[in-house]
Amino acid sequence: MDVIETDVVIVGAGGAGLRAAIAVAETDPSLNVALTSKVYPMRSHTVAAEGGAAAVIKDNDSLENHFNDTVTGGDWLCDQDAVDLFINEAPKELTRMEHWGCPWSREPGGHVAVRPFGGMKVERTWYAADKTGFHMLHTLFQTSLKYPSIKRFDEYYATDLLVEDGRCQGIAAIELRSGQMRAFAAKAVIIATGGAGRIFPFTTNGGINTGDGAVMAYRAGVPLKDMEFVQYHPTGLPGTGILITEGARGEGGVLINNEGYRYLQDYGLGPPDPWPRKKAMELGPRDRLSQAFWHEERAGKTVATPHGQAVHLDLRHLGEKKINERLPMVRELAHSYMGVDPVFEPIPVRPVVHYMMGGIHTDIDAATPLAGLFAAGECACVSINGANRLGSNSLTEILVFGGRAGRGAVEHVRSGGKDVDRSAVEVQAGEAQKRITALFQKPDGTETVVGLRKEMNEIMESGAGIYRSKESLEETCKTIGDLRRRYADVRLEDKSNVFNTDLVQVLELGSMLDAAHVLAHSALNREESRGSHQRLDKTERDDDSYLKHTLAHYAGEDDPRLEYLDVKITKSPPGERVYGGAAS
């Protein structure tokens, strides 16, 4: 077994992983960083984020506004100490991105421009046209090339955390080019592997978003927090799930049903002004908008498309010039993938799974309960997103908490502690290797990746989607439980070593099933409706019982063990979420 010795190993090289790597390199250039990812950094899904990143920079705004929008948007499930820290560091992190060359869109005088997003009292979203995630990812990746202490291991699929004596001391990962297992020995590990949207059938997430890193931590005994909270983005393209940014509504786009009616006014979000009013109508929060679609669909007021029901996102009144300048990618995507030119026709859209509020349980320093293990970005849950993430907070989150994870890892390495137990690393990585070898050697299983994945996708959408009930969740838990058992019999058809994507998909399916399992059980156990978690049988928020985070612990073949942790409330007691005219 090859053992690669380093100081900090990072799993995932998207926005959070790259930011963490740079933070380590800047804080202590003498420490070696192994930056691993199952894809090349610029393929990471940060690349697909469109609309922008929130941070207070304008005189008409305040940190208090950002705090309140975030906490209200999260339906009071956010930890308020974390939100405070986040909003304070946000402008610094985005400024740093500016210094690193991020091509932020500008006002005529040269200042960074901002646009409004859903659920915001004042516009504060920095943007680079409608390719903000793409520009941030490439800026971070290119900047990371400056630091000789960052060594990349591209296309390494991490399978296991190596844990000895209560501390994390590395990972085992398969080098896809050779199919060989490698051990990475390090005093600190940072997981930054993004979301798990692929457990659902319709998602804005790329094929790589399978929850591997979060599940790797979960299996090593680290709890997953608040996994029942799944954000449906209200405007994805039917069929492909391709994201049409909230920026399109921030610029003035409106949503209409099959009668040409701006239906959001019927869901407490009015008045339907002809201009974009903050926190109202199309600029309401994502959970409310997706839920309104669900009701419209049941009332028969949606539009049939070859890929299911949709509503219309109308941008025509913005005019060609503004669409080209502010929303060029939206025009291109709608044109290519729907055959619709938004300058002349409305775009059919529907809610699609977009973001996991839940993830690896961390504190405000991005540290997990496992010594030496840190996590940041979508795979983590600090929590600043609560029960429903405010649009454009996630791009900022990867910077703030990616940076903190990197600095935390440096501190952990420097604070001494025991040296890495090299022999334990080798033994454990050897065991990881044996589990992979067993997949190759076992007689052909009866289950297929495709069959199990399809069943998982279907039950997650029907049983744990925008609206849930005790009944639907019980069925989901049972089905996912069955699928996990059947997974033991999954067939690996490709028995070769070099770039074996069949093997990767088998392993990814295992991660997705565990993530889905936690999600369903956490949702079943939360007998209230809050933010993105809406129960038809428990329609009210219940602060007496559930102003708490769910913590799910791995229990092998059994159902996860759930416990609860109080939400940290520092200055904003739970109140009513007010949107529409009353909010502005």
Binding site: V39, Y40, M42, R43, S44, H45, V47, A48, I57, K92, T95, R96, E98, H99, W100, G101, P103, W104, S105, R106, E107, P108, G109, G110, H111, V112, K131, F134, H135, H138, Q142, T143, L145, K146, D154, R177, G206, G207, I208, G239, T240, I242, L243, P306, M329, L333, S336, Y337, G339, V449, V450, E493, D494, S496, N497, V498, F499, N500, T501, D502
Partner: protein, 248 residues
């Protein structure tokens, strides 16, 4: 009526068992809103689990899925079956790169070249975060904006005849990125980048065929970047000649 179908001919190569790459033909359902990537995923899911290729976003921004499609470098997530139907589609790995397996190429060379042009802001003076963002007008941004749009999909390297003949050539995407930083008002690193960009393996290797700009899915126009760099380098050269002791 039976469902319409389409034939896809894919260059397969598994280094552990195959002596040489060879074509294998698959029949897939034809749907007018499918892209070639959808056809590959159909094959992977339903016909042949051993087919390997890279993909992720399915929206032409992650840059993973560049391939030769009927001889032209394209993103397979952005090449629609309807543009080929009812004819057979031939899919091969990107030209000018070694094949790692099937449609997966070895791209180490590109990654090294990208790094060699120092594609990051090299400021005249470090600016503290407290000093806030720089001012940069929309006009200043527009001078380099198009060169920031590169998704590193490598279609331009696959199209470039010079890169095929002279593997040392730094190549279109990396040179365009160097130019992008040179033009950025926040940057002062042009001289450092010129060591590579203005070298023999840099812009002077380009014979201005312009294929790179033709195939670019993001309209980056690397050929223009290379031409502009040549002009700037020529001016440097004359300045140095006319005023050898002066500051460039």
């Amino acid at each position: 009526m039976t469902e319409p179908t389409l034939q896809v001919e894919i260059l397969r190569y598994r280094p552990e068992t195959d002596q040489d790459p060879a074509f294998q033909t698959y029949t897939v359902p034809y749907r007018d809103d499918w892209v070639v990537l959808d056809a590959l995923n159909h094959i992977k899911d339903n016909i042949d689990r051993t087919l390997s290729y890279r993909w992720s976003c399915h929206m032409a921004v992650c840059g993973s899925c560049g391939m030769m499609i009927n001889g032209e470098p394209k993103l397979s997530c952005h090449a629609f079956l309807r543009d080929y139907y009812p004819n057979k589609i031939r899919v091969e790995p990107l030209n000018n790169f070694p094949i790692e397996r099937d449609l997966v190429t070895v791209t180490d060379d590109f990654m090294e070249k990208l790094e060699s042009v120092k594609p990051y802001v090299i400021p005249k003076q470090e600016r503290a975060v407290d000093e806030g963002p720089h001012l940069q007008t929309p006009a200043q941004l527009n001078t380099f904006k198009q060169y920031t749009m590169c998704i590193n999909c490598l279609l331009c390297y696959a199209a470039c005849p010079q890169y095929g003949l002279t593997p040392d050539f730094v190549g279109p995407a990396a040179l365009a990125l160097a130019h992008r930083y040179n033009l950025d008002t926040r940057d002062a690193g042009r001289e450092q980048r010129q060591e590579i960009a203005a070298s023999n393996e840099g812009v002077w290797d380009c014979t201005f065929v312009g294929e790179c700009s033709q195939v670019c899915p993001k309209s980056v126009d690397p050929a223009a970047a290379i031409q502009q760099t040549k002009i700037a380098s020529t001016i440097d050269w004359y300045k140095a000649l006319l005023n050898p002791w002066g500051k460039r």
